[in-house]
Subunit: 268 residues, 2 copies
Amino acid sequence: MPQARLCSCWGGRVLPLLLAYICYLLLGATVFQLLEKQAEAQSRDQFQFEKLRFLENYTCLDQRALEQFVQVIMEAWVKGVNPKGNSTNPSNWDFGSSFFFAGTVVTTIGYGNLAPSTEAGQVFCVFYALVGIPLNVVFLNHLGAGLHAHLAALERWEEQPRRSQLLQILGLALFLTLGTLVILIFPPMVFSHVEGWSFGEGFYFAFITLSTIGFGDYVVGTDPSKHYISVYRSLAAIWILLGLAWLALVLPLGPLLLHRCSQLWLLS
Amino acid sequence: MPQARLCSCWGGRVLPLLLAYICYLLLGATVFQLLEKQAEAQSRDQFQFEKLRFLENYTCLDQRALEQFVQVIMEAWVKGVNPKGNSTNPSNWDFGSSFFFAGTVVTTIGYGNLAPSTEAGQVFCVFYALVGIPLNVVFLNHLGAGLHAHLAALERWEEQPRRSQLLQILGLALFLTLGTLVILIFPPMVFSHVEGWSFGEGFYFAFITLSTIGFGDYVVGTDPSKHYISVYRSLAAIWILLGLAWLALVLPLGPLLLHRCSQLWLLS
Ligand SMILES: [K+]
Ligand SMILES: [K+]
């Protein structure tokens, strides 16, 4: 039976991987719990305290009324209305923001600070993603494959003089360092400055974005108390595309570069 | 210069793709804006109306006090405290939820309904993802490659009798249909039932999850007014892994199956 052969051929490779995977998840669960549970309890106590203080200060309010208001606020939030602002806030679905949203769909980042709330929007989102995600993958793969093929095409590399090899490696290292600075280091610093985050938070945002995890706990251009220039979100979307493209270029180079460096090392 | 060769070799392939990509994003931005802007304006008006009604009913409250309370609620929300519940709610960072969270990190789904709020948690999350995401990719690739290699190993397929070819294709189709039913169709229906969503919303949740977009607008096991069985979130995490594994198995089969079907068609 095919099933039997399938099982035996998989047992050797997939089972150890599966075990490692599960163990890794259990490890993560343990550490995240240790790190976050106490802080959560504190935030929760803090919130209960603030709520009680509010009830004390405004005696016409009872517990039920307050819970009702919380309900109203959370419903607005879920529908994409930021309850903090007033009605003159710019729309979350203006063209720049919609472009930003479309970018977070095809890259599968999906911050979720914006998500379609109408049924038509949800249906369109599914079909948009069905085409857009493969398009994004093909595009990024082409970018990565392009540079990789170019470097692999320097075929007679081993036969070139040492000096030329060294220069090429230095040039490549310079190219990678400059690109990383301009694309991965500089923009998070700008974002931190504009959004009023610490540098650590800026890099956390950049990592969570470019890894396509996209929690949405930090998103650029969403603070209703700030006045952003009109193209800010579109610039952020372009940064995301550039960043992902850069990673698609750079990540496949790692093994190649390591290999060449080790060759140089062995020859010297 | 390598740069010059790089540009000329890329121009042919990457530029048209880039144009298509940008056009696709612009198209998405236009349609999402059309679909969502009006609904957003309605939700916003609705919220302003509810707020005004609240101010009228509870005359001890002024605008400033209300805005302050909204601020308190949103801060609690950002720190991962669900303001709707009371202090006896189970922690968001108990073991099952932390396991669920770890799963959403390594798969890059990142719903964001839970996200580390402490600096230590954020730093650990970055390094956890740095190892976990490649582990997840390797694991899913191995699963997919396993079945694919097995099917490709039926090498003398063309020389087998027609009847056997047909049986194999039927068997494979049955296997795929049953698997899809059990893994992709049945669980979303269960989730819809448990969470009180429509079937459409359940499938939207499943799609947004398994495409790893993970907006976090629909997440299973997060309604504080519901009493879930204790392993519900862990079961959901296992469903996500199974679903992703199933897609990793099935998606590479598409081209192979199409090819074989077309062969059968041509021979008949
Ligand atoms: K995501
Ligand atoms: K996400």
